[in-house]
């Protein structure tokens, strides 16, 4: 059985929702990311305590016509990608807060 994964927004970013999209800027190297509508849903829900599979099941599969397995696979790829840029933090444990989140490794 696969363990749940938890995602949290990095504290070293600035972000702003613009319509259905979200712009995220790394505060450490000024790189800009533009998140589309579905990625924005994951971003907004990435509170560090809600498992990623729950976010996908409750926030994405209920709103968009997409198979749960495919949605979760896409979501995992997305969060790994942002984690590689230091924008999101990914952990096998809940991320209690920004101070704890800093030490979490993907």
């Amino acid at each position: 059985m696969k363990n749940s994964r938890y995602v949290a927004r990095s504290t070293a970013v600035a972000a702003r929702a613009l319509g259905d999209e979200t712009m995220v800027m790394s505060a450490t190297n000024s790189t800009l990311f533009t998140l589309n509508e579905i990625a924005s849903v994951i971003w907004a829900a990435a509170d560090g305590v809600t498992p990623l599979d729950q976010i996908v099941a409750n926030r994405i599969c209920t709103q968009y016509d997409i198979a749960p397995e495919l949605a979760l696979k896409d979501a995992e790829t997305f969060v790994e990608d942002l984690a590689a840029h230091g924008i999101l933090l990914v952990s096998d444990q809940p991320v209690a807060g920004p101070a704890n989140a800093r030490g979490v490794t993907p």
């Binding site: 970013v13 600035a14 319509g19 712009m23 800027m25 790394s26 505060a27 450490t28 800009l32 533009t34």
Partner: protein, 271 residues
């Protein structure tokens, strides 16, 4: 017998850009005269200055303005260094010191950096853009080098007051944004007029076969704006501040794409 000492007095001049008077002192009177000439439209007789800089001219230096700028915040002091200058500035004491070659462009660079730092905390910014006032409203034309900033300034009709052909100065008052004239010039080598006006629109420039103004998505607008804002500091809090400022600006000021043929007819659209 009292000791005989030589006292070198520095003379000063106050340069006021965007309503921020900065006193520049230097022992070299010839250099002070150069400053007076360069910033002629932006001199102030006020003794009530916001900041004070002592300039020390270096006899030797690499004189290279092409080196990378290093800008760090250290114990409350901003330290800035490039091949042609080294400066430190403490915002809390309102004092700074500049060591530079005699090249006045070095001082220009220091002032640009200082103003970017000051403006950031007031939710304003410096932008790679030419700007002009027409009918009481300011228009900004932004883009990378070669996009047409200076061309737009050069083609401006006689009724337009040019604020700059290179670096636009944007301030925020309440929910309104204003463009302010600066002495920071580009290829036109002509300082802007010391005026200000509310910003009507920001145009991202593109050259094309005919003149047209097109709306752009908010995300593209913010991306285009951020790509042209001057910010040198890599301090994370500063980066966040600039990002938020750009998003706020884009929510209050129309940002559009202006495709233009480089002749005076483009100004028929700017009214």
């Amino acid at each position: 017998m009292p000791r005989v000492t030589a006292v070198t007095e520095s003379c000063g001049v106050v340069v006021e850009i965007g309503g921020i008077p900065i006193r520049l002192r230097c022992a070299d009177r010839d250099f002070v005269r150069q400053i007076e000439e360069r910033y002629a439209g932006f001199l102030s007789s006020s003794n009530d200055v916001s900041f004070d800089f002592e300039i020390e001219l270096a006899s030797k230096g690499t004189e290279s303005g092409d080196d990378d700028l290093r800008l760090v915040l250290d114990s409350g002091r901003w330290l800035m260094e490039r091949g042609d200058f080294r400066a430190q500035w403490n915002p809390s004491t309102a004092h700074g010191r500049i060591q530079q070659t005699i090249n006045p462009y070095s001082l220009d660079s220091v002032l640009r950096i200082v103003h970017t730092l000051l403006l950031a905390h007031k939710r304003g910014f410096l932008l790679h853009a030419s700007s002009a006032i027409r009918n009481g409203r300011a228009f900004l034309f932004s883009g990378v080098s070669g996009a047409g900033k200076t061309t737009m300034a050069r083609l401006a009709p006689p009724d337009a007051a040019l604020l700059t052909d290179e670096i636009s100065y944007v301030t925020r008052k309440g929910n309104s944004y204003f463009a302010v004239g600066t002495p920071f010039s580009g290829e036109l080598v002509r300082p802007g007029e010391n005026l200000e006006a509310p910003i009507e629109a920001l145009y991202l420039l593109a050259k094309g076969p005919k003149n047209k103004i097109e709306p752009i998505e908010r995300v593209a607008a913010v991306r285009g704006l951020l790509g042209n804002i001057l910010f040198f500091a890599r301090d994370p809090e500063f980066v966040k501040l600039v990002f938020d400022t750009a998003c706020e600006f884009a929510s209050h000021v129309p940002i559009r794409q202006l495709t233009f043929v480089p002749d005076a007819s483009v100004w028929e659209l700017i009214v």
